[in-house]
């Protein structure tokens, strides 16, 4: 089996991740922050260790401002809804995932906000588009740093500078860029960065997080028990507790802690370099296959590429590859905006997305199989 679906979820995971999950479940998986016994306290210590590890990976100095969620979608919803006010105007990019488009659309449909869509492109084009659309009540810009369907990358530093200058909050969707982009959050103007554990960070499904760089303690989306201040009917008004109601996914967070160790050991730069090389090899091979064409930008950063066949639907091509034990994803990838931006037709594209564990040999094997698809 060849796995090229790392943008959906990375596979395999580092061996240390599997062993830490087992160790957590068998040795210290009490309910964190609830009890006095060793299992509960050790679980809480492991979660804190993960907060520190993430802080270090993203060059951010306040581990307490990291909120664990259950995925990036939950993180983005929370980051947006904790900061939005009635009457606000929000700008989102033309490569946003439904994790952003749907909550923004809902807020707008409810009459709570208005929004516009700025164009991706060069630094200058993006900033120019944002500047054209900005209104006096624009309170937030949302940026999907790396597209999940192609290697379109938004100029996050330029957007952050613009947002900072104009006192606008910037929410960064780092779902595809985490683990391959060297964030310097202490020095950036990003207000909140959201990411899942299970993609480029090589953790498992069921964990996401927000790095609340601006330290905002806004409105809550979920309320409930957290193990402290139990006599109070309202959530604790401080990070991270205000946004962490209910039992945390301790085995998932323990896995993420170990996965971050793996990334730090290999380094973000090395993983990014390797994925870009794999994608380049694949793109060059695709270009020489009759009737297959690439959509979007294959030259940007990120290990993701979208392609189509002139005579077959993406679904048919995805099925053909699946029958040959090759894992890719066809369709719209929950990103109709991005597909419109790259000009996908009906049926979307086939997406191949590479991870650290893929090899040149696998690339060549898949190219050979695609070459036989008539």
């Amino acid at each position: 089996m060849i796995y090229f679906d790392n943008a959906a979820t990375s596979f395999p995971k580092p061996n240390t991740v599997y062993s830490e999950i087992r160790r957590c479940l068998s040795k210290y998986c009490g309910n964190p922050g609830r009890s006095d016994h060793k299992l509960s306290l050790d679980a809480a210590r492991k979660i804190y260790s993960c907060r520190e590890n993430i802080s270090s990976l993203y060059n951010f100095s306040n581990p307490d401002a990291i909120t664990f969620t259950y995925n990036a979608t939950y993180a983005l919803n929370l980051a947006i809804k904790a900061r939005v006010k009635k009457g606000d105007h929000i700008l989102i990019s033309d490569i946003e995932h439904n994790a952003v488009l749907r909550p923004i659309h809902k807020l707008a449909a409810d009459g709570f906000i208005t929004f516009d869509i700025y164009k991706s492109g060069s630094d200058k084009e993006v900033i120019s588009s944002i500047n054209r659309l900005k209104k006096v009540n624009t309170s937030m810009i949302i940026a999907n740093h790396y597209s999940n369907i192609t290697s379109i990358v938004l100029p996050i530093d330029a957007i952050a500078d613009y947002a900072h200058t104009h006192e606008i909050k910037l929410i960064c969707d780092a779902s595809q860029s985490s683990g391959v982009y060297p964030y310097q959050l202490d020095k950036s103007g990003i207000s909140a960065l959201c990411a899942p554990a299970h993609k480029g960070l090589y953790g498992i499904q069921g964990v996401g997080f927000i790095i609340n760089c601006d330290g905002v303690v806004g409105d809550t989306v979920i309320e409930g028990g957290g193990g402290n201040n139990s006599s109070d009917r309202t959530m604790p008004a401080f990070l991270p507790d205000i946004y962490e109601a209910g039992t945390a996914n301790t085995p998932g967070i323990a896995a993420l802690d170990t996965a971050v160790d793996f990334i730090k050991k290999i380094t973000v730069d090395e993983i990014s370099y390797r994925e870009n090389l794999l994608k380049k090899r694949f793109a060059e091979g695709l270009a020489s296959i009759k009737n297959i064409y690439i959509l979007g930008n294959p030259d940007g950063n990120g290990g993701t590429i979208s392609f189509c066949h002139k005579n077959h639907t993406p679904a048919d091509m995805g099925h053909y590859l699946s029958q040959n034990n090759i894992c890719v994803r066809s369709g719209y990838h929950c990103s109709p905006l991005a597909h419109k931006t790259i000009g996908s037709g009906e049926g979307g594209t086939v997406r191949a997305s590479f991870g650290y564990f893929n090899t040149d040999k696998e690339i060549d094997r898949v190219l050979s199989i695609l070459d036989n698809f008539t």
Binding site: P32, G33, S35, D36, L41, A44, R45, Y48, R51, P63, D64, G226, G227, N228, N229, S230, S231, D232, P236, F238, P240, D241
Partner: protein
Amino acid sequence: MKRCVVAVSSVTDAIRIERLLDNNSIKTELQKLDPSLTEKGCTYGIEIPCSRTTTTNKVLQHTDINYKILVI
């Protein structure tokens, strides 16, 4: 016998304090406190030797952690 405990509002802050004090060679024991000791109920505390309360205050006053040293 009198016990000295640094009381905080969250387990996250409790672990932060545990680490800070450990780094300053102050012996600690993380524990859940009697909820009646605080206004809002369930919370955690870090027991320290009562002889080290002054040093503990010196370490913690440079942080943003809200804490109270209880003698119980």
